[in-house]
């Protein structure tokens, strides 16, 4: 796969070309002054200086609410599948990598989830490498990195005046071929410079001890420390909803007259009602069990089932937890 390059000044043109074939989302300022992935529009100029978006891009493949079935007169039917392609530009490598974790859950053989698969198949991800990680980032400790292209179709690396575009998948290669007239070849020196920049960014990411977390957590299952670390959890769900790998959902039916739908919505294992049985029994009755489940799921059960951590080190949960919780601290305390 050949690396290409495009002057930053030509980026708008490139994105406009993608827009001819489908929807394009790119980073832009929202009314609060934060940068978010927004539909490409002249009124929302593309911004390249940002750390990461508040909301993860998982909503593009696993929306907050999604119709599974339509009902009419007591009969269930599959809804029409979404049409059209979507290009996401500016996804950070951690968030792109997260999609690989979601793939493990939803694209599994006989129990293949057609709703997720449908959206995933029509979403092209152009990741933008990070040059300035935050103090809450720890992607390098969980198998990723500021310039890691896993999960993306194309990895874009910002240089001074150019963006280096490195295809990661056949789909990415095809995308770049379709706009070959707008791109220049990138020589080996550009590639080398990109790697140096990425390396410089990697050095800035503070490491977190995560090796052997699965067996360490297994051994620490009954540690009294869980009670202490979970007491401050409010069960608010912010961490799960912002997390790029969290995917737990609820399924409910909604009715309007003789029509209705079965819809899946984001849910959170930290909610008290999550595992409540109809009998009133709750296997996870207090924040302690629920917080332990959260950590165990991401750092132990996922490893045991998929040989993959379900955390990409994006740090959103740390930045946005209203109780100031930090799972790096928890990992350190219970793993120790």
């Amino acid at each position: 796969m050949t690396e290409k390059r495009i002057p930053v000044t030509d980026l708008d043109g490139l994105l406009a070309r993608f827009q001819e074939k489908g929807a394009v989302y790119a980073p832009a300022n929202d009314e609060a002054g934060d940068v978010a992935l927004a539909p490409l529009a002249r009124s929302a100029p593309v911004v390249l200086e940002y750390r990461n978006f508040r909301l993860s891009p998982k909503a593009f493949v696993l929306p907050q609410n999604q119709t599974l079935l339509c009902f009419k007169d007591g009969r269930a039917e599959e809804p029409g599948l979404p049409a059209g392609q979507t290009v996401l530009f500016g996804v950070r490598p951690c968030d792109a990598r997260a999609m690989l974790a979601l793939d493990k859950v939803f694209l599994d053989g006989d129990l293949h989830d057609p709703y997720y698969a449908g959206l995933r198949a029509r979403t092209t991800v152009i990741a933008l490498a990070c040059t300035r990680p935050m103090s809450s980032c720890f992607c390098t400790s969980v198998g990723g990195g500021p310039g890691d292209g896993a999960g993306a179709d194309v990895l874009a690396v910002p240089m001074d005046a150019d963006l280096l575009l490195m295809p990661q998948t056949p789909r990415g290669e095809a995308l770049l071929s379709s706009v070959a007239d707008l791109l220049h070849d990138a020589g080996p020196s550009a590639v080398k410079e990109a790697q140096e920049r990425i390396h410089a960014a990697e050095e800035q990411v503070a490491p977190v001890k995560v090796e052997d977390c699965a067996p360490r957590l297994r051994a620490a299952y009954n540690s009294p420390l869980w009670e202490a670390v979970s007491r401050r959890c409010l069960g608010c769900g912010t961490c799960s909803f912002l997390c790029p790998t969290c995917h737990c959902f609820d399924i409910t039916d909604e009715v309007r007259g003789r029509h209705g739908r079965r819809v899946r919505t984001w849910d959170c294992c930290a909610y008290p009602l999550f595992t409540l049985h109809a009998s009133g029994h709750n296997p996870r009755p207090t924040p302690k069990e629920r917080w332990r489940q959260r950590i165990m799921h991401k750092f132990r059960y996922a490893v045991e089932n998929f040989d993959r951590l379900f955390c990409v080190g994006c740090g959103r949960c740390i930045r946005h937890c209203p109780a100031g919780m930090d799972l790096r601290t928890v990992l350190k305390e219970v793993g120790a």
């Binding site: 609820d250 399924i251 595992t275 109809a278 296997p283």
Partner: protein
């Protein structure tokens, strides 16, 4: 391409039977609307399905019929919440969706050539009915050794499948012991908890596989009795219940440790459960 795991097979309720005296357990006999659905719905005893009522929701239920009962798909449902209450109010002829079969069945390969000890309590007896009918079918019976079943309920009126139970007790190729916590006049069988009957009968653990289904308290004490009788953990089989939604291991709700009760269970050996956190 694999079938959409969220799409139920269209079916309808053909018959409803009230199972117990307090009238909160009903057995539903369902029929698929399309013969193709029936052909696809191949199951083994121990598996479950999600029953679906559009506009109401879904809930998981163990399959009570045996696959050897062709054309007869049975689910026994206890009325406890939103979905079951609605289901209980439905008349034969109503449309219903069936999603499945789901989960891992009882370990039939391992059970071949063994003596079987089947212990059930209360409402959890549903999949055990499926198992017993399957075992007793002439095509299958010779594959298994002796079969001892112990089934307990609170009162005689709460025992399910009473006509099946009577038929089984009349047979020579299965021994069925029934027990109740509180007898009524006319009850001449055991009185007391299932574990008391078990400890009295003292079945041999030699080449025997035990299957236990029941409420958590009953399971707990039964496991203790089985251990006393010398059953190793690998030969004690349990079927668990958990709050479920998707039934296909994706919504994240029913896990015990790294295992999903819907996909990796609901049938587990005691040995497998010991390796999992005690969070159920």
């Amino acid at each position: 391409m694999a079938r959409n795991p969220y799409l139920p097979y269209p079916a309808r309720i053909d018959e409803t039977i009230i199972e117990n005296e307090s009238r909160d357990i009903k057995t539903f006999r369902l029929a698929f609307e399309a013969p193709a659905s029936a052909a696809e719905f191949q199951y083994l005893p121990g598996q479950f399905a999600e029953l679906s009522l559009p506009g109401v929701g879904e809930a998981p239920f163990g399959i009570a019929s045996s696959p050897t009962e062709t054309g007869r798909l049975l689910f026994s449902v206890k009325r406890t919440g939103l979905f079951t209450e609605e289901l209980h109010s439905l008349e034969p002829g109503t449309r219903i969706g069936v999603r499945g079969p789901m989960g891992k069945p009882f370990p039939w390969d391992r059970m071949a050539g063994k003596d079987l000890l089947i212990i059930g309590g209360g409402f959890a007896f549903t999949t055990l009915r499926s198992a017993i009918v399957y075992i007793l079918d002439p095509a299958n019976r010779s594959r298994f050794g002796s079969v001892l079943a112990i089934y307990g309920a609170r009162t005689p009126g709460e025992l399910m499948y009473r006509s099946d139970l009577a038929a089984w007790q009349a047979r020579k190729d299965i021994s069925v012991h029934l027990t109740v916590d509180k007898a009524d006049e006319g009850w001449s069988q055991h009185v007391g908890v299932v574990t008391a009957v078990l400890e009295n009968l003292k079945p041999s653990a030699q080449n025997t596989l035990a299957i236990v289904c029941g409420p958590p308290v009953m399971i707990k004490f039964t496991l203790l009795s089985l251990a006393k009788l010398g059953f190793p953990d690998s030969r004690v089989i349990l079927s668990l219940e958990m709050r479920m939604k998707c039934g296909v291991g994706k919504c994240g709700r029913c896990n015990i440790g790294s295992k999903f009760v819907c996909k990796d269970g609901p049938v587990f050996t005691r040995e497998e459960l010991r390796a999992l956190p005690a969070e159920y």
